[in-house]
Amino acid sequence: MSDQILQDLERRELKTDIPDFGPGDTVSVHVRIVEGGKERIQVFKGTVMGRSGRGMRASFTVRKIGAGAIGVERVFPLHSPSIAKIDVDKRGDVRRAKIYYLRDRVGKAARVKEKVKKA
């Protein structure tokens, strides 16, 4: 019974418009940023390292190579209202749920093979 109440509460805030994406995919995360009372959208584009958690607490990690070849990873709460939109740009072909091995790779080795749809 108490689980029911929790579920009802979470349902209010859970997003329903989340695209299907997973580790290896290249995504653009549109983040709402409030600066001096003004709101603007910033896009964070990178490779999804993995998803974690369920329900309200679900999150995902995105890694991109920033300026000066510095790796930048951001963890986003999946259902956060500050995420305006998630675009899936490319599907990656990976064999594990968390692709942390990318952290140890540099340059061309750090690429993810693109998934080719079977005809």
């Binding site: 108490s2 109440i5 929790l6 509460l9 979470e10 805030e13 309200m56 607490r57 259902h79 956060s80």
Partner: protein, 207 residues
């Protein structure tokens, strides 16, 4: 004036407030019938309200208690608690969450903590235990020395040792009310609250 209400811990989840994810405990609070009003002018010599919570079958409540509920003109409840210093409600009326709390209030939550049984000193008092290696044997989780030798020839009172841990009344103070959902008698409080799910909690606020 102190205010309070009784509730049942539902569990924890999180909500987003201003883009930040905040951990909250959901509590189903009230409605609580006022079973008895005590006042400093009356025979009790102090101000308090006795509140009931969680309706019970009349057949499950003993005769003296049933009479007590009947006198106030309320349905019998399983839980009865007194809230000292609370006033402003008539006997036989109901206290609802929204009567007592609004978002932003600070609240003290009391309940019975989860029982952990007879626990060692590491779990119970956060002792560090001993080294895992370097010659340690037979005592990796023990307390170490419990005092000096010939003087005082005894162990000081209150010395922290192993023993029953949990299943005791605990109060978490100054939690902030995040949201009050009036029509479902729910209260969202920031942070954790003592006790297991479905356990009874007392919510109080001062002034």
């Amino acid at each position: 004036m102190a205010q309070g209400i009784l509730g049942r811990k539902i569990g924890m989840t999180s909500v987003f407030v201003d883009g930040r994810q905040i951990p909250v405990t959901v509590i189903e609070a009230g409605p609580c019938p006022v079973v008895q009003v005590k006042s400093s002018e009356g025979p009790d010599k102090y101000d308090a309200l006795q509140l009931g919570f969680w309706e019970a079958k009349e057949s499950r409540v003993n005769e003296p208690k049933n009479g007590h509920f009947k006198r106030a003109g309320v349905k019998p409840t399983r839980v009865l608690r007194e809230f000292r210093g609370m006033s402003g409600f008539e006997e036989g009326t109901e206290v609802k969450v929204s009567d007592v709390f609004v978002p932003g209030d600070t609240v003290h939550v009391s309940g019975k903590s989860k029982g952990r049984g007879y626990s060692g000193v590491m779990r119970r008092h956060n002792f560090h235990g001993h080294k895992g290696s370097h010659g340690t044997h037979e005592s990796k989780r023990g307390p170490g020395s419990i005092g000096a030798g010939a003087d005082p020839s005894r162990v000081w009172k209150g010395k922290r040792m192993a023993g029953q841990y949990g299943n005791a009344r605990t109060t978490t103070r100054n939690l902030v009310v995040v949201e009050v959902i009036e029509d479902r008698n729910l209260l969202l409080v920031r942070g954790a609250v003592p006790g297991a799910r479905n356990s009874i909690v007392e919510l109080r606020k001062e002034a």
